[in-house]
């Protein structure tokens, strides 16, 4: 008890956050788990059904394909959103004229927000009037391609391109921060030894951004697994459900069909996947330290 009194100020300082945290994060986590074990009717009645909702999901082809789609998106988007931002960071960190402008340009979509980005690109990617097709027509390719709806592959390419366009700037800034922290003495010493620009990039720059790369990969994994907004607004999950992801499935089940039980169970599966991914990441991180 003496200890508790002695540390009273500590508890008081943590109190505001902990109350909010318990109410708006911890309690929802527990409540969500309970709902995932229930048959939950929006009108109020509920009954305990054990793992029936999880069983339902494992036999629901729509859910299974949504998991698969999400994995595809992660597999393609994470490397793209590591490599491209890194290259962008190299460009805007190089001693060229107007790099501040390039930097602003690459970061700009991030502040436009997901809805504006999707709205702009819906207009860009449509046929009979979209800019992309118009440019193709102008250079002699007379095709009216509906990029977001014509085929599964094109829809995914569209979603990936828009995601890169939208968020590459954010990861670029993380890289840029790391690049600007590399002591310039390293480069000077290498120059004296006669190293070329490319050699310096390979032997000084790359090793120096290892830690930030792990961070970027980690954040990008989480963001990519939770992908929703741009897909919802661009393809609506189509064509024929080919771009439905886990979060779109959760949204559909929960707030379109109002089946809260399976919706909560799907949320927990997403949580579980992210937990595993995070643990692997954390292990990797501690290894590099």
């Amino acid at each position: 008890m003496v200890g508790v009194r002695k540390y009273m100020p500590s508890y008081l300082l943590m109190l505001p956050f902990l109350i909010l945290y318990l109410l708006f994060t911890f309690y929802p986590i527990v409540r969500g788990f309970i709902i995932s074990l229930q048959k939950f009717y929006v009108l109020g009645t509920k009954e305990f059904v054990g793992l029936a909702n999880y069983n339902y999901l494992l036999h629901d082809s729509t859910f299974l394909s949504s998991v698969w789609h999400t994995v595809i998106f992660v597999v393609f988007s994470v490397p793209l959103l590591v490599i491209i931002p890194f290259c962008l960071a190299l460009i805007v960190n190089a001693p060229i004229k107007g790099r501040k402008i390039y930097q602003a340009v690459f970061f700009l979509p991030m502040i436009l927000g997901v809805s504006v980005v999707s709205s702009v690109w819906s207009a860009m990617l449509g046929n009979y009037g979209g800019l992309v097709d118009a440019v193709l027509n102008a250079i002699g390719i007379h095709q009216e391609i509906n990029w977001t709806a014509q085929s599964t592959q094109l829809a995914w390419i569209s979603v990936l391109a828009v995601t890169v366009w939208w968020t590459a700037g954010f990861n670029m800034v993380l890289y840029l921060a790391a690049l600007q922290d590399i002591p310039k003495e390293l480069y000077e010493a290498a120059s004296l030894d006669g190293a070329s620009g490319w050699a310096k990039t390979c032997f000084i720059t790359l090793p120096s951004v290892k830690r930030v790369t792990i961070l970027v990969v980690f954040l990008q994994f989480i963001a990519s697994f939770n992908v929703f907004g741009q897909i919802f607004l661009l393809t609506g999950g189509g064509p024929a459900g080919a771009t439905t992801t886990i979060v779109s499935y959760i949204y559909e089940k929960s707030f379109s069909e109002f089946l809260f039980g399976p919706g909560a169970a799907a949320s927990y599966i997403l949580f579980f996947i992210l937990l595993i991914v995070s643990l692997i990441q954390l292990r990797l991180m501690s290894k590099t330290e």
């Binding site: 929006v42 009108l43 729509t62 501040k100 990617l125 449509g126 046929n127 009979y128 009037g129 979209g130 009216e144 509906n146 977001t148 709806a149 014509q150 085929s151 609506g236 999950g237 189509g238 064509p239 024929a240 459900g241 559909e252 707030f255 379109s256 109002f258 089946l259």
Partner: protein
Amino acid sequence: MKVAGKTKVLVAGVLIAGTLATACSPSQTQSAVHQSGTTIVFWDLFGGADGTTMNQIVKKFNQTHPSIHVQEETQDWGQYYTKLITAVLGGKAPDLAISHVDHIGILKTQGVIEPLDKEAASVGIKWSQFFEPPMKDAVINGKHYAIPLDIHTYLLFYNKKVLQSAGISPSQLNIKSYNDFVSICDKVKGHGYVPLSFGESGWGPLAIWETFYYQMGGTSLLNKAGTKETFTDATNDAVAIKAMQKLYDLYNTSHIIPSNISNPDELFKSGKAAFCIEGTWSVDDFHKALGDQLGVAQMPVFFQQPAAWADSHTFVLPVNPNRTPEQTKDAMVFVKWVEDHAWMWAKAGHIPANKTVQNTPQFKALPYRRNYGSQASFVKYFPMTGTVWMMSDNEILNELQGILLKQTPVAQGVQEMGQILDRQLQE
């Protein structure tokens, strides 16, 4: 970009303050107008010409009824029912809302709407004044849940100039069969125009399939009790598959519809397409874009008998414990007024559900209406159930799109649509 720190904060501050000032002014003026009397929050899902027309109706009503203020809030069509249900269950229900008539079964199951027999009678709305088709679905267990506003249906729009330049006389346009239509379209295609501007995703193709199905003599899509689909039964199976095949052919065999037009309305409005199958709601919009070039015809009889997909917008009373009896009454006053002035709504292109409006001079003065007024006699609705509304059911629509994108064979796809529907009817 070398602006001093203080200047930056100043500029940002001015921007935010400016936004604040402009952002707040419209709502203030609004609230000043309706301080006295009741406010009715009215939800609808009207975009395009529909939206503009309803805006005008609400404005006119508010001008003529100083003690009532109807506050119209238009929600996203695709997410409308999601929004309505989450709002009602979340205690943020509107006082009055629009619903499609074949969707009220689900709203009742979810506990979102309440019966309105007494309320309608109190302002003198008589059920006999409405056309039969929407009234059938407006009643559940002997109680009325919806007051029909319109019948909206698919029409065949055509561009006279395009037809002429393809050597087809628009005045003698007479489509007597599916094959007729395809051969006319082929001619148009030869002249470099898009024959039929129509989408490939969403509920549109499903409505065409339904139209074809009934034109070929298919019987009701569900059994009487609404517990099981019947279009894959022995009697209907062949018809359902054939209707799908004919739809599939439009995209993939005769290529009358170019695959995946992202904005069919816009394409037709630009004058690059000969035909467009669209809803009555587009009459006004198309007329504005094309003027005298626009032709409007009722849905042709492609097969044995006339039939056309249709639906109705209706007024419903959401469950809302915060709505006072006075607000309920005023909401009904608004409904009654709109029904009496339904010719205004007809401006958007729809057929008013209120039969008596058809004889008003205002309605008769509207263009094109006599071309399709009689379509109300052969319209076909999607079945109303307590669990599924086919038109916005993602699983069914995905299955259908899979067929049109050649991912699933036609016959198999129709079977699977039946299975999906059956499963959902049980859920």
